[in-house]
Subunit: 239 residues, 2 copies
DNA sequence: TCAAAAGTGTTATGATTACACCCATGA
DNA sequence: TCATGGGTGTAATCATAACACTTTTGA
């Protein structure tokens, strides 16, 4: 099967061979103003024109699947160098109406303020949706989204991937609210502070918030080097 | 693409259309005499004839992927109605030498004593290997195995899937040794007893071991109904 | 009676939880 | 001065880990 692509160097439309009957779909999570959100695109062409779905596409014949997922994200939304992890393959025989197509689901975590999302050339619209306001999506994309949320809730308890959703500099309350939002639970502020600080994963930046109408909070950043040391010597990230 | 299959009703060889460039491979775990083992097959045909690999095969055109994994397990090893869970898709472009093929990895947990493993018609040999004695496998099957072991170690801490590897009736020491073997750690017998019994997941069968040359241990079974109740109300299975 | 594993008891330590309460800042 | 969130303190409770010890059974 042959498909059209925008060549990333020349910017011209080129034709390339892709794998038949296998696609990639991607759930993109962002965190903004206390809400966990997902990026959806409105299809500009095809049988599902005008409907919302997950960004996705075909895998080139000579390209690995992780590479393909990164490329698709770049093409469809302008996002590059983001945290991306595979969920699993979805392959019910009737999931796609025009033939047998298996899709590999991915999820991405992005720092909202670092990116400006644009609609790629196959999308007519791109928008963030709160996770409890996801519309009815094309094909089995609601199932893929549900699975991705479960996976995120699981993974966030095992490794500090939550930080991928926050700005470089953040306050402890922002971090706590992120965990509350992802896990759908309420936490105790004093206890959360102590617990996260005891882990020694955060670096005190000796800076404070600016222009807030209450006592300014200290800013912290995540220390990836310390995390790697701790992760090797066995380490638990439960909340 | 068309492949040959043994029809499950008539027992005759039939031809059926399968999905092109996508396969399934399965890591089958069993537990015997204190050791965690994996079932491998020696290929009888093809370019990798005589080499060990994971059982696997093609997906029929009208068959879901989970269904395909169950069927393949049945065809290749005689195993039916086993616990089976998808790992993820493996799709490096060079993983398969004769063309671009993506594979979907699965892992199975089976009760060794309940099954008699046989070599299916494409395998010349089938054997259990201890997890620290896995030979060099075909394609990227060592990578798939490594991932499956990581996944098993993770999952076993989140849900009581370990029981799928034990006989219906087991002693607390057997259970503890299973966890020790899977997680690769040593545990304290008195503390393990108390912890697992406090969870209320085990039913005391009021029976004892027979013919052991030491004090006979009580036999227990896993109570799935209680587990489901506990799992709903939030529940932790850490060891 | 001995070995081997079953099974109980005890104590120190640390984590978790649930609060009360004071502090800093802009409106 | 008041609201808002920042930040500290404390005591009760619960979980974990380490290890000493008693019991049962067949060889």
């Amino acid at each position: 099967m042959v498909r059209q692509f925008i060549d990333e160097e020349s910017g011209k439309v080129v034709e390339q061979s892709v794998m038949n009957s296998i696609t990639i779909d991607c759930v993109i999570f962002g965190f903004d103003k206390g809400s966990l959100e997902v990026l959806l695109i409105k299809h500009a062409h095809g049988i599902k024109k005008g409907e919302w779905g997950l960004p996705g596409g075909w895998i080139k014949e000579e390209e690995g699947i992780d590479t393909a997922a990164h490329r698709l994200l770049r093409e469809l939304t302008g996002l590059d160098h983001v945290y991306l992890e595979q969920l699993k393959a979805f392959g019910e025989p009737d999931r796609f109406p025009l033939g047998r197509v298996i899709t590999i689901g991915y999820y991405a975590l992005i720092k909202r303020e670092a990116y400006n999302v644009v609609a790629g050339f196959t999308a007519s619209d791109v928008r963030w949706f709160k996770i409890d306001e996801i519309p009815s999506l094309i094909y089995d994309h609601n199932e893929i989204f549900d699975f991705s949320l479960k996976q995120l809730r699981n993974r966030v308890r095992q490794a500090p991937i939550g930080f991928k959703l926050l700005p470089e500099k953040f306050t402890l309350l922002q971090l706590m609210q992120l965990y509350e939002e992802i896990l759908g639970i309420e936490m105790d502020k004093p206890n959360f502070r102590r617990k996260i600080l005891k882990m020694k994963l955060l670096v005190d930046l000796k800076e404070k918030e600016q222009n807030v109408s209450h006592r300014a909070a200290k800013l912290y950043k995540f220390d990836n080097a310390v995390y790697k040391k701790l992760a090797n010597s066995g380490f638990n990230f439960e909340f």
